[in-house]
Symmetry: D2
Subunit: 356 residues, 4 copies
């Protein structure tokens, strides 16, 4: 019989529970042997959905790391635990798939990176789900084939459906703000399509809190726009929103010197269109997961394959730090009202100003 | 100063009034010198919209034909007058643009054709507006260029928006039925794209009266489907409806041996899309005129140009007879419940049947 | 630990191998314990892809039926074996998921139905994959909710990408012809949306062999059009083709008295669009499996669930016989050049004809 | 007979010749009585296309202004002449339709505005063609109706098809740069949808010269991105490009607190789609005029109507100055690499900076 990767999931909240099921049910080469979440709700959910299939439940993360035979950990709990748990798992010699962002602070990201560098035999992956999406991969392949010439301009947005509650405000307390939380994906796309080693030249961000004034207390907004110049003549510009009415709309456009391509310029829930009084209507994905479910499943399968077959991960961990760095600069620019410049080694230039 | 074509319009109903304005305002090389319509409403409309610009109004068609200098007549009144007025105009040595159909009877169409043949110096055009539409012309050009190989299958539909009144039932009294009235355009497209001299091999038509049961008294339906085989291995299939909720939807698809093309597969009123609760919505053309306004204007300009510059008309009058012949066979098939076969010269084969 | 359904697959050809993997890897509640295919290639494939995961390979179908603990069989070999293998499996008291069509002959389908009726505790499912597709299900739900009024007209097509080889000609020997092979899905959709108990009133079919003249020897065509009237005022019309250049295009449109809906009116491989010289281009699914992969996975999961939880199957086996009956009438109409009529109990009316 | 507006056109270059024909042929209530352009080519063109229809040609602008009965002038020559000719025409008591931009300098724009203010009986219109486009008007109406809530974010782009020559470089000498030349339309849209009296808060612009390095000598770029904050919590962001391969793509998106709308998110030349090897392809408008021809015709008709019927122009001249002011700030930001701030009366804040 074939060997299966022994996986544990940390965090059984919304996203963690999904990861758990992906490894349990939709990752043929892996077995979900352990799961950690101290909350009573999560334990109850695990007893019903995981335990009957052989997954052992833990209320202590360190205990889970000692689960016999455990080889890999999925870190999918709250953002502030991403880095500490990843570092602990690495210390325990486990491969790690960590949800994005590694941290909302650059220095902490670097701690993770250093921990990973010290154990080069481990696979440490930051879960940028779009990297596993069939359409983005097709786009990347076409770009690599030179079909649009040199990628020059990237436009990308992560826009959530409006929620008639205070979820987004509550969430803003620890999310790092809309740029680090939502546009982090778009920044990662810029690094993917422009080259992982692109060096940031400037960052400007603005925003408004149009539907959730409560965000202001956390220096956050519900609509953010940011422009990032990279050295070498490339520009990315981003939009993020929490107030889409139709549903989730994550769209990307890459403009090259000899063509352009779009990903999800026309969002749609499925292939149905209604012709009715008022016109022709199609429904739209409601959540991030509606849009990227298959990508998450691909992610768990490829993570498993990379470990079992000792293959290179599809992208480097260091990029995740770059993305956080740029996201944090956006948040800073939003707060200060200033454009932030970087020298050609990517080091931020500090300035003094005076109004005349 | 340049010479302008002297035009008269017969009929100032909905479509006739539009023709009048197209010649008056949007056909630079023509002058609308005369207009005929005996109805008081039409006369009142003409007094306001035409007379101040120099158009003389008539209540007698024969009188209008005697208007000094009149060169061309647009026949746009009720269907039953199309043929007699066209024949009279030809007799008076006028060029004619006649609205479709020439007649709902094949023999009468042939009378018009014979009248026209006797005066080859006159331009006699049957107004198949799609022939002047930019998209259909682009399609024709691509087909002529061989971009889809040999056209083999044609699907085409003419579907009207549902009306919450008895207009369609009233109209059915003299329209010749949905196939002759609506699908006549689609039949003409088949003749255009398959070749004007295509010979019909069989006709089958079925239909239902789903929203307007009153249509049954006229052997008419509000949803009709017909299949027409042509000798030489080509098939056209048609749909017509009077109960679209979103708006007008006239779509055509031409499938060739090496590719296919569609015209108006995704109807839209304009370039606006609404993202709102429920999804993404676009409005749709409400009427035939919304969709084909520019084609009608092109028609009046080209008709004028063909006369002034003595150019060949873009298509032959004989095709209009073919279209009526096929449309009438559809109506017959609908009524009899039988497939109608034609020999390879296009002559209908009569059969006797007995149930076993 | 939870109980998993013990499944065997018969046939490891293209589609059978997919079914095998779906049950092995993507159906969490099932175990693929056995697989049958006598061909050396299939055995080799099975040794590599199935055996290491615990699936026992058989070269004798009857032996596989005796596999200890086997509960259900997927019949996915050549069409002519569908019915005999299904009947044997039922006799051996196994649940069956049989690929469509049950048979290309109506009488044989009825044998299967009778066998199944004799063992009402068994779940016997005919694999109409579109029944498990998320978009078709959404359409069905909207129709059930009355969102388009009473479904009146259905247009549906199954169109394959052109292949530059003689596959379609070879395949025609035993496929039952394009209507039974391809449009069977569309007929099933008509029965779904119009009601499983709809009674056929007439069938007319025409076709041409435009790219594969070799099809004529089997009375088959590469482009077929058929119109089916149902008693009670409903009409379905169908198109099938083997010569699409862009890819697979399976489109359905349901027109109701108060609205219409389309499924896959704009086929697309993924969410990428290329803006390039010549315009905006999107790629298209190349095969039936590209389009319906998720539906097949859903099918294996629901089949499993219906057995384990003793739920009702999502549709009745008798509908599959209806679909074959209508498909065969299309093939007969194509061959005879005649419209075929049925009385209001669905019995075919035989006629004699004489040309006058 | 009815009175017709007596119009003269200044400049018979590409756009001027179009204006001339629009007034000659497609503006029923106007007469093109005069046209000015000193170039021999323009005179030759005018002799062929205008003179035979009664238009008098001039080689001296001042002479044209003296044309007996002349009531209105269309200023459509080179950008640097827009302001002087408009001011002269106003002085001669003529109504003026002036092509955008009034000038590439804010002060000169203000001179025009002052000249116009001094003669309030004259209609002076700056030709922002999108204001007359049916889709933008539909968008405006929907916004006015509150269909998207409060407009908060606007994204708009003006992107030209790549040209394989040095036209764009030559043009950059006097165009004022890509922001003033191309995005001026998008800025005007922001002022339209956010309110004509919106006060700019900050402007940031970046860009690259990716295909036309020759642009750098004029401080211009071929891809520009700009973000404009307005006081009161609204943001517009813009993109302009000279290197689209598929064709012209001018797209606008207005995001409101309760919905969003797009204009031309899916550009298309017409209603034809090609299904061919490689996928489904539609062609795209090649030029600005392809996209906005009908809007220009509407413009000439409405300008005429406003004068003849003494109606209010559809938008104020002062907005045109605002648009130029913002466009110039973009150009300045691009050049300086700095964000430009404005106080809440719209006055630019000057700053000193020092790198620490």
């Amino acid at each position: 019989m074939v060997r299966k990767l022994q996986v544990g999931v940390s965090g059984l909240g919304r996203m963690g529970a999904r990861h758990a099921r992906h490894f349990l049910e939709r990752t043929p080469r892996a077995e979900l042997v352990a799961a950690f979440d101290p909350s009573p709700e999560a334990q109850a959910w695990g007893k019903q959905h995981l335990e009957p299939y052989g997954t052992k439940l833990y209320t202590d993360y360190d205990e889970m790391l000692k689960h016999p035979g455990l080889e890999a950990v999925v870190v999918a709990g709250i953002t502030t635990e991403h880095a500490p748990q990843t570092i602990k798992a690495i210390a325990a010699d486990k491969h790690v798939l960590c949800e994005k962002p590694l941290s909302t602070k650059v220095e902490i990201c670097e701690d993770v990176l250093n921990a990973a560098k010290a154990k080069p035999h481990l696979k440490v992956l930051c879960g940028f789900s779009r990297r596993f999406d069939a359409s983005y991969r097709d786009a990347a392949e076409k770009i690599d084939n030179g079909e649009i010439g040199r990628p020059t301009i990237l436009r990308s947005q992560t826009c959530d459906k409006f929620r008639n509650d205070d979820y987004f405000v509550q969430y803003a307390k620890f999310s790092g703000g809309i740029f680090v939380d939502a546009n982090i994906h778009d920044i990662d796309l810029a690094l993917w399509f422009f080259g992982q080693d692109s060096i940031v030249k400037s960052v400007t961000a603005v925003g408004v809190a149009a539907r959730y004034p409560g965000l202001k207390q956390y220096d956050d907004v519900d609509n953010g726009i940011a422009v990032v110049e990279f050295w070498g003549g490339r520009i990315a510009y981003f939009y993020s929103s929490r107030m889409m009415m139709a549903g989730q709309q994550d769209t990307t456009e890459v403009i090259g010197t000899h063509g352009k391509l779009t990903v999800n310029a026309n969002p749609a829930l499925n292939l149905v269109e209604m012709h009715e009084l008022g016109g022709v209507r199609r429904e739209v994905d409601q959540t991030y997961y509606d849009r990227f479910e298959q990508a998450f499943v691909k992610e768990s399968n490829e993570f498993t394959e990379c470990i079992l077959d000792d293959k290179k991960l599809p992208f480097k961990l260091s990029g995740a730090i770059q993305a956080v760095k740029i996201g944090c600069a956006m948040a800073e620019s939003l707060k200060s009202g200033r454009k932030i410049d970087f020298d050609d080694t990517g080091v931020q230039i500090k300035e003094a100003r005076a109004r005349l």
